[in-house]
């Protein structure tokens, strides 16, 4: 008896402990479950709608499973009266069995198609305010944000006014990553050689954690950033401060930034080279020819031999050396190429 009481107390404790853990979540960021923007809010709605549709089928299935397993257990009291070893087909039941999932999936499919078009990330958001454009580059292992309209740049920190649609243009100068601010909306990949688009809007002021959600090597875990939504005035003030007091980002500065490293603090720049984003996108495109790209895919040792040692950080592994050497030479090569365009 004593044993039994102990069991019962433990059983009562477990859910309590679980709740305590979840409640401890109240003080912290609940991510997707605590949306602060129109897109994230609609995505959460969609998650809830689809969950309900699933639960409609889930609950009866679970109840049926355990009820039937219990009722028809071999050592049951009522004996073998209900035992029908050859009952294995029923047209009606099978019609229901196929029909119910088909109907549920049909409903879900219709909802999905609608939402897929509605929430297409590259679609501009309807708003009275004029959107702000921010260019995003994922690097090993940090995020670079360029403000073409304001002329400033930041690392691992992005600020924009609340209630104003933000048009992110994204690319990568490193392996593919994924740009994700859970409280504002879903993620999108950043890929070299192409510019992706993601439209988000923040409804409330606040600092929202952002993530690099796709694995890009050793220190990919350090690619968190802060997305701050502030009032328009505060934003303008911040831009003015950055312009006044921060250093500027040169092309050479960018090339150094693009090398493999971790940056723990947020960094701001009062200016950046014209057309930097487009240059990063186009430098990988096929048209630039492969003649310039020695060292990228031949062995790392060869890249090392080709005279780029001067650009490399000390203590980096061979791969990093090969990588930075080649990207630096490409940038130099494509600069000329870009000139013709402008």
């Amino acid at each position: 008896m004593k044993m039994k009481g102990w069991y019962r107390r433990l059983a009562a404790m477990l859910p309590l402990a679980a709740i305590a853990f979840l409640l401890s979540g109240c003080g912290v960021n609940m991510g997707v479950l605590d949306p602060k923007g129109t897109i994230a809010r609609q995505q959460l709605d969609l998650i809830i709608i689809s969950s309900i549709l699933c639960v409609i089928i889930l609950v009866p299935v679970l109840v049926m499973t355990f009820w039937i397993a219990w009722k028809y257990r071999s050592n049951r009291k009522q004996g073998d009266a209900a035992y029908k070893p050859n009952w294995s087909h029923s047209g009606k039941i099978e019609a229901v069995m196929w029909g119910v999932p088909i109907v549920i999936i049909l409903i879900l499919a219709i909802i999905t198609v609608q939402f897929t078009h509605k929430l297409e990330p590259s679609k501009a958001l309807a708003s009275e305010e004029k959107p702000i454009t921010i260019e995003v580059v994922s690097l090993d292992w940090k995020w670079l944000f360029l403000y073409p309209e304001q002329g400033i740049a930041t690392v691992n920190f992005v600020q924009f006014p609340k209630g104003v649609p933000v048009e992110f243009k994204l690319t990568a100068d490193s392996p593919m990553n994924s740009f994700w601010i859970p409280q504002l909306g879903g993620q999108i990949y950043t890929m070299s050689g192409m510019a992706m688009e993601l439209n988000l809007i923040a409804d409330e002021e606040g600092e929202y954690p952002g993530k690099g959600a796709n694995f890009t090597g050793e220190h990919f875990g350090k690619m968190g950033f802060i997305a701050k939504a502030s009032s328009q005035e505060e934003f303008d003030q911040w831009v003015a401060d950055v312009k006044k007091s921060s250093p500027s980002l040169s092309q050479q500065g960018y090339d150094e930034l693009a090398e493999q490293s971790v940056i723990d603090t947020k960094v701001t720049y009062s200016s950046f080279p014209d057309g930097l984003f487009d240059r990063i996108v186009t430098k990988y495109s096929a048209g630039t020819g492969s003649g310039h790209h020695h060292g990228s895919s031949s062995s790392a040792g060869e890249a090392n031999d080709s005279g780029h040692e001067g650009m490399n950080h000390e203590g980096m592994d061979m791969g990093a050396e090969g990588a930075t050497a080649s990207s630096a030479s490409q940038t130099a090569a494509t600069e000329e190429h870009e000139h013709h365009h402008e």
């Binding site: 401890s24 995505q43 889930l58 028809y72 999905t112 392996p175 790392a300």
Partner: protein, 655 residues
């Protein structure tokens, strides 16, 4: 001297106590194995009975042993990761080490654990279920096994030699190109998978031919056991999917080895192409491993409910439609690549469609139990654990398939929890059920039920404790593959719980090992050949099955022929007349597969280190083996009637 030192410090992985421990363990185990074999003069036995065997039952046992070893290795990887994540800012594993571990965990669990365990069960059960003497191509079958084995060994070698791959289990370029991964780890990945992949493809071909051509007289397709159907569906998927994997990895190898630009950042390369290709294989791959599990559950539910499987035709249709539709869903792994609304909508819907036949199967199993007489032996317990787990996992899969919502789930722990739920709750539970179910047929003794129940409950409770918190963590924004997280994230509590769950599952595995050892010691011999009151042909012969399986070809009249026959006998029917014994035509053992796979291993190792002096002789050896085998006409023999009589009499003595 310094040169040798330099070489050794590059060649052997150094600087980590875990790895030094492994080095010592490997040397000790190798010495012990060699010593024991030599002392007991067992080398000849090992060569004759195992290394050269073409018997599908022995090949099956070797697959299963290797898979359980790999389950141990993959499981240790998992526990190391969960230990690292037990609390914020842990310094147990460095990021680089953590990246290696999640890579090897994924590769080993899918390709070197799930696949061989599945092939082991194919080998054990399919020929016996369809009343065949062996598979269609016994030597090829042995070659498949040894290629898998050598591929797995090559991959595992990277732990102590050269360094493990660290680019994720699907090795997305450009991260895995020479530019970002200059080490040999990625080459171990490519060659380990390539070599075993050839084996998988050949197994697919072998079982399709076996099932289509070798069935006992009277067994039409629609009278086949459901497991055999699921193997057919899975094998068809294998032969369509695995060539894509082979080509994809070959292209990646050409990039790395010859400096081509298929998937590089520059030079016109397109990494997105790789991601498409790898998932064109990768998504069918998960159905390849789950379909046979569905087959196992179908057998187990019917056997332990003592009732015919409900909706046989629906079941067959569901299996086959899953294997077709599985080829049209790959892009749901990257809705976030910006393909546009129409493409995403297409792949979202094709993914949801798979939920329909899958749901139908669940109803079929439940209705098979309905009005049955259910006994909860361990295979049935795993099935009961499977149904709720898989239904919930399937539902979260449907949630993930809703493309716009996936933008919020993608690459988060929500996704991790989902696929572990379907892969552990579906695939692992399914193969465990199959292992417990066919164990007496394989070895002639049953596994201890009590220890089996402990293992079952530890695995089951451990599973939910481990993975339910991960759904919440994903929604809170925890991204997969983070090696640490800060206190400010608020992820501590849930991660702690999750780690506890992982260790509970680890304890469940230990109970299974204990269960096997205990059962070997206190052997409960299966003298009937039919310990579960089975329904299909494999239970009509002694346990373990004689070398030639069936003394005379069984004549099949209906689905569950053995069950019907037993019913007929019980109600006073006369036993069927036994046809006279005839000499049985059998394949001879062959050393070629083992030798050829060893040459593949040598070639693979050479390519990993760019040692052409090693790779080229390896390939020449492979070609020589092919040539030699083509001219080998001494491949078969007959078992005379009196030997069959002696074997049958000995096997039936206990009855």
């Amino acid at each position: 001297m310094d040169k040798i030192k330099d070489f050794a410090s590059d060649f052997f992985v150094t600087g980590d106590p875990l790895i030094y421990g492994a080095d010592v363990a490997i040397v000790l185990v190798t010495v012990a194995i060699v010593a024991v074999l030599t002392y007991f003069k067992k080398w000849g036995w090992l060569w004759r009975e195992w290394l050269t065997t073409v018997d599908h039952k022995k090949i099956g046992i070797m697959y299963i042993l290797a898979a359980l070893l790999m389950l141990f290795r993959g499981g240790v990887d998992a526990l190391l990761m969960r230990t690292q994540l037990i609390m914020p800012n842990m310094d147990f594993l460095k990021p680089e080490h953590y990246n290696e571990i999640f890579t090897t965990h994924g590769v080993i669990m899918i390709l070197f654990m799930a696949m061989p365990l599945m092939f082991g069960l194919f080998n054990i059960a399919v020929p016996l279920q369809i009343g065949a003497r062996d598979v269609a191509f016994p030597v090829l079958n042995s070659l498949s096994f040894w290629l898998f084995f050598m591929g797995a060994m090559l991959f595992n070698l990277s732990f102590v030699i050269g360094g493990s791959p660290n680019g994720g289990w699907l090795a997305y370029p450009p991260l895995t190109e020479k530019m970002f991964s200059p080490g040999v780890g990625q080459d171990f990945y490519i060659w380990g998978i390539q070599i075993s992949g050839i084996g998988s493809l050949m197994t697919g071909i072998n079982f399709i031919v076996t099932i289509l051509k070798m069935r006992a007289p009277g067994m039409t397709l629609m009278k086949m056991p459901m497991f055999t159907w699921s193997v057919l569906a899975s094998s068809l998927t294998i032969i369509l999917a695995f060539p894509i994997l082979t080509v994809t990895l070959a292209l990646l190898f050409i990039d790395r080895f010859l400096g081509a630009h298929f998937f590089t950042l520059d030079g016109g390369g397109n990494p997105m192409m790789y991601i498409n290709l790898i998932w064109m294989w990768g998504h069918p791959e998960v159905y390849i491993v789950i379909l046979p599990a569905f087959g196992i559950f179908s057998e187990v539910v019917a056997t332990f409910s003592k009732k015919k499987l409900f909706g046989y035709t629906s079941m067959v249709f569901a299996l086959m439609s899953i294997s077709v539709v599985s080829f049209f869903t790959w892009a749901h792994h990257f809705f976030t690549m910006g393909s546009g609304a129409n493409v995403n909508a297409f792949f979202a819907i094709s993914t949801m469609i798979i939920a329909i036949p899958t749901g139908v199967k669940v109803f079929n199993w439940i209705l098979t139990m309905y009005k049955g007489k259910i006994s909860f032996k361990t295979p049935m317990l795993w099935t009961m654990g499977f149904i709720p787990c898989f239904v919930v996992g399937g539902m979260t899969g449907v949630l993930l398939s809703v493309a716009p919502a996936d933008f919020q789930f993608h690459n988060s722990y929500f996704l991790i929890a989902h696929f572990h739920q379907v892969l552990i709750g579906g695939v692992a539970f399914g193969y465990f059920a199959g292992l417990y179910y066919w164990w007496p047929k394989m070895f002639g003794f049953s596994l201890n039920e009590k220890l089996g129940k402990w293992a079952f409950w530890l695995w089951n409770i451990g599973f939910y404790v481990c993975f339910m918190p991960q759904y919440v963590l994903g929604l809170m924004g925890m991204t997969r593959r983070y090696s640490t997280y800060g206190w400010d994230t608020g992820w501590f509590g849930l991660n702690l719980v999750s780690t506890i769950g992982a260790f509970l599952m680890g304890a469940g595995f230990l109970f299974q090992v204990w269960q096997i050892l205990h059962s070997i010691k206190f052997m409960e011999k299966d003298t009937t050949g039919d310990p579960w009151d089975g329904r299909t042909l494999e239970w009509s012969i002694p346990s373990p099955a004689p070398m030639y399986n069936f003394a005379t070809d069984p004549q099949v009249r209906e689905v569950d022929d053995w069950w019907e026959e037993k019913q007929r006998l019980a109600s006073g029917g006369a036993p069927r007349p036994k046809p006279a014994l005839e000499p049985i035509h059998m394949p001879k053992n062959s050393g070629m597969p083992f030798i050829k796979a060893t040459f593949w291993f040598i070639a693979g190792f050479g390519f990993v280190f760019d040692w052409m002096w090693m790779a080229i002789p390896g390939l020449i050896g492979v070609a020589a083996c092919m040539l030699a085998h083509s001219f080998n006409y001494d491949t078969d023999y007959y078992i005379p009637v009196d030997e069959i009589e002696r074997t049958e009499a000995a096997a039936r003595r206990g009855v």
